[in-house]
Amino acid sequence: MPDASQTERILTAAEAILEAQDLALARDPNVYLMGEGVCDPKGIFGTTSGLVEKYGPQRIVEMPVAENGLTGIAIGSALVGMRPIMIHQRVDFALLALEQIFNNAAKTHYVSSGKHRVPLVIRMIVGRGWGQGPAHSQSLEAIFSHIPGLKVVMPATPADCKGLLLGAIEDGNPVVFIEHRWIHYVKGTVPAGYTPLPLDGPRRIAEGDGATIVATSLMAIEARLAAEALAEAGVKCDVFDMRVLRPLRTEPIIESVRRTGGLVVIDSGWKTGGFGAEIVARIAESCLGDLRAPPVRLGLPDHPTPSTRALMEGFYPSSDAIAAAAGKLAGASAAQIDRAVSALRQQRAKVSIDQPNPAFAGPF
């Protein structure tokens, strides 16, 4: 039980991530950080700031720009007892390292019949907005989630950023930890101390029998906003923040869909072949008869991310689109849906489409 003093600790997710790493480094001498920029003055969007001063360059390891090789090096070190945390400032950079991640990180435990372990955390950050463009904004969780042997975590709250990251570092397996850049700014209560969370799947973050909304990372925040606005309009929905995409636990979602009869899934990445397809498929397999209407998937359309914000409108699913879809599934009246959608649009209009918050002014 968190006590009163803990519930008052408000941190940004970036601070929560920094705190988790600090605690892990302090606790286990085998933990080390490796990434391009881990020691620099910007400290990976502040998530590694101060650590090199505290733990030294032997444990906060500045990395050459060589993602594949350094992933293999991290794996090799893990095989002899280290616990590396590797960091990529963009998910996109990890594309260079997939051979190491898919073959060596993911499979070595299995292939060795359990003799080897690869306790490796790979943090990677999804870029969005301010012209990040086609190769600095990809959210590739669908790809990682396809590979047995990997665990895939996408936190949405500061508390989860801390707790799930600690859980990932404690885990004996390779964990791909995908952070949305805009989540870094989110503030929330974070318990003090060493408080790892199990990597155990979805959490219900709103309740209701209207429809079931399933989302990850930033999309879980949009989904919660949507549910709140719908609730204001008199329609209550279940919202699940997936948190852990692999191993995939869908029981709570199945239970919910059985009750609500409606499903909206929101992908952070491309909809086609996205993570949401797996959720829809599992629901269709498990409780087809409970679906009162076709499930709805939201996600990125089938094209690369354009740099210009002029082509951005509607590119990312937003709370109003989620509210519209969920409201309809829940059988809300047009007036109710309208009320929720316009409230959300008003809210959104305060910040430009390519900024995480009004204070943001580039350059990345």
Binding site: E36, G37, C39, D40, P41, K42, E62, M63, P64, V65, A66, N68, G69, D92, F93, L96, W130, G131, Q132, G133, P134, A135, H136, P301, D302, H303, P304, P306, S307, T308, R309, A310, L311, E313, G314, F315, D354, A361, G362, P363, F364
Partner: protein, 330 residues
């Protein structure tokens, strides 16, 4: 290791006057981008080349328009030096439909095949094999063009550089690798990323000729580059040009950042006085080829062009939202 000095005649100096103007133009454009960045109309990351202009200009001066270069995130100077359209570049930074990629690319994707800047890419080292592939295409198609690959010191850490160099050497392709060593990858010094040894050895290991040049000395760059271009055109295979230089502003964005702690004011100042633009101006002035009046005229002419380009960008329409999903497939 200090690069080989190059001596020059007055005649050669005269040839440098237009190249001086080209450098000055790039400097002035980049400064204007920096100045206007805070307006928040260029809503994309910008990696300015201030301090590194001599390389772009010296290298491209040795090329024909039909030769194709590829570049990186830090591509403004290469695009401009290779003859890219200023209006289309500024419009691209503004995200407008008149941008060289129709606004879809932003500042790290400046493409202009017509001018011979085949593409620039934001993933470190990702354009290196593309340039080698262009050279391979030229060779196979019997076209006389040369490919140039602009790359940063950090690119040399990516395996794909070596894979590309090996193939270029094995097939004696007409490609020239131009490495701008500005000592940093973002905020990380070369010494924190690589062992201490001459970077030229990385090319020589693949059997590629390498030359080390003062990257702030336009004349030296042009000289060495011209030789390499001749060799490439004569089917003598690839070369590697290592050019030492320094980035004045922050890695990404419009500001000076010597105060944030990753480099010293002293280091910056030591490079500041080696400004490639001032150095060439001094030389030209000493030889009577340049003076304050010409400088003022040049400044004014460039500013007119710049103002027009920004006006063009501002006045240009954004791409229409309905086009967002178009053109995924040819």
């Amino acid at each position: 290791m200090t690069p080989n000095p190059i001596t020059e005649s007055h005649a050669r100096l005269e040839e440098l006057v237009p190249l001086y103007s080209a450098m000055r133009r790039i400097r002035q454009i980049e400064l204007e981008i920096a100045k206007r960045y805070a307006e928040q109309k260029m809503r994309c990351p910008v990696h300015l080349s201030i301090g590194q202009e001599a390389i772009a200009v010296g290298v491209c001066a040795a090329l024909k328009r039909t030769d194709q270069a590829v570049s990186t995130h830090r591509c403004h100077a290469h695009y401009l030096a290779k003859g890219g359209d200023l209006n289309a570049m500024i419009a691209e930074l503004y995200g407008k439909s008149t941008g060289c990629c129709g606004g879809r690319g932003g500042s790290m994707h400046l493409f202009d095949t017509g001018a011979g800047l085949l593409l620039s890419l934001p993933i470190v080292a990702s354009s290196i094999p593309i340039g080698v592939g262009a050279a391979f295409g030229f060779a196979r198609r019997g076209e006389p063009h040369v490919a140039v690959v602009f790359l940063g010191d950090a690119s040399l850490e990516e395996g794909v550089w070596h894979e590309s160099a090996n193939f270029a050497a094995r097939h004696k392709l007409p490609v020239i690798f131009v490495c701008e060593n500005n000592l940093y990858s973002v905020y990380t010094h070369l010494d924190d990323r690589q062992p201490s040894r001459p970077l030229t050895k990385l090319a020589e290991a693949h059997g590629i000729r390498a030359q080390h040049v003062d990257g702030n000395d336009l004349s030296a760059l042009l000289h060495v580059m011209s030789e390499m271009v001749d060799q490439a055109r004569n089917s003598e295979g690839p070369s590697f040009l290592l050019a030492d230089t320094y980035r004045w502003l922050e890695h990404c964005g419009p500001n000076y950042d010597n105060h944030i702690g990753y480099r010293t004011e002293d280091e910056f100042n030591a490079w500041r006085i080696r400004c490639p633009v001032e150095r060439l101006r001094n030389k030209l002035e000493k030889s009577g080829l340049w003076n304050a009046a010409r400088e003022d005229t040049l400044t004014a002419r460039i500013q007119t062009e710049i103002d027009a380009a920004f006006r063009f960008a501002e006045d240009s329409p954004f791409p229409e939202l309905r086009t967002a999903a178009e053109g995924v497939y040819a």
